[in-house]
Symmetry: C2
Subunit: 206 residues, 2 copies
DNA sequence: GCGCAAAAGTGATATACATCACACAGTTCC
DNA sequence: GGAACTGTGTGATGTATATCACTTTTGCGC
């Protein structure tokens, strides 16, 4: 039997209503919104389907939105002058992705975002986020907590990068996201760890 | 003439009123508070003086506060099992420092904070921050923006670490904070860059 | 000013990782 | 089923950086 290694893991039945429920549960973890408040909040999101390989944010372009992943897997990445790619984040369901510097500072994107698998996302524009934050105190609260979580995670990853060798960082990543192993090609995992694909490959044999 | 390389850069006249003004200017950049609101906000801070070498947050201990630097320079750092130190942040005037994971999650500190020079800080407890965020919407707004800035900076630094060699990262740091060169010993700069002091030393000769 | 301790520089050697080159396996598409 | 492409494994070699050991310089208390 043929084993589809990079299975799409994609449910075509997915729709906006299920997405709404997933976002609702997600928000509820750190903010208290009444049902009407949440409905109003949700009305600012656009439900969007992307196919594997599609680009959502392009380096050098404008960034208008941030994206809440409902299904599938995105990556946000940077490509340097030697065309080498570095992955900042794999965005799995209930994760958010964007180029936050570009988004907040109205600058051109330095970071790209694209789809590793087919994906369903909810997009929210910068203008609408700021509007919602102004209008609903608890929304501002939610975004403060979410950003704080991201900040702590980024610091932790930086520390891990300074402190640990490739093998240790790889094991950490697999412990945190076991699903990645069969979902994304190894050279992308290498690009996340910041090593060459060859070095990553050799880890298994040692 | 003897040149005091690690000058204290310390103004004994500094007092709570000047600190208040510095904090006010800092907040005003991203939030709009009325004077009474700011006075109320400020009333939750404690003005504290520390001397060079004093520890503010100890690894393994409780973390109750975050610290706004008014004068001097702090460092937040992690020490690994081999007793090697990694510096997460140099905190200069108008910067904030704490172990944000421990502070938000009520866990024990993994990160320490101490004083590179004599320092004047304003401390704010976690409980008071949350209270103020609840009571004054603009305060929550301020902390969202501040945290977002930190998040973007941490991501940028992670990228720089994956992308650039030591020399480039050193030059970046010196460009961003020229004052550090004469303010902190070189082995601390090495600990920030994540390289050995020997390697940093050899950069100059090449 | 003297003496100790902390900081900084330097040489020799070891090592993790990058890079280049190539083989081959798996997937996709006609 | 075969071609083309993408992904993966592996050997040989080069290089940046760590580590260890030692010396020199600087800062600071007495």
């Amino acid at each position: 039997m043929r084993f589809r290694k990079f299975s799409l893991n994609f449910n075509p039945e997915f729709n906006s209503m299920q997405a709404k429920e997933i976002l609702k549960q997600h928000i509820a973890k750190s903010a208290l919104l009444t049902d009407p408040e949440f409905d109003y909040f949700f009305s600012h999101f656009k439900f969007q389907s992307y196919t594997k390989g599609q680009t959502i944010i392009t380096e050098g372009g404008k960034v208008e939105c941030e994206y809440f992943v409902v299904e599938g897997c995105l990556k946000s990445f940077y490509i340097n002058d030697d065309m080498k790619m570095f992955i900042l984040q794999f965005a799995m369901p209930t994760w958010w992705a964007s180029d936050y510097n570009a988004l907040y500072s109205r600058e051109k994107a330095m970071i790209s975002v694209d789809c590793i698998t087919n994906a369903e996302v909810l997009s929210l524009s910068n203008a609408d986020r700021e509007k919602l934050c102004r209008e609903i105190h608890q929304v501002e609260h939610f975004f403060r907590w979410r950003t704080n979580k991201g900040y702590v995670a980024a610091q932790r990853r930086l520390l891990s990068h300074m402190n640990n060798d490739t093998k240790k960082r790889y094991e950490e990543l697999m412990l945190q996201y076991p699903a990645l192993y069969n979902m994304v090609p190894k050279h992308l995992i290498a690009a996340y760890l910041g090593v060459s694909r060859e070095t990553l490959s050799r880890l298994h044999s040692s």
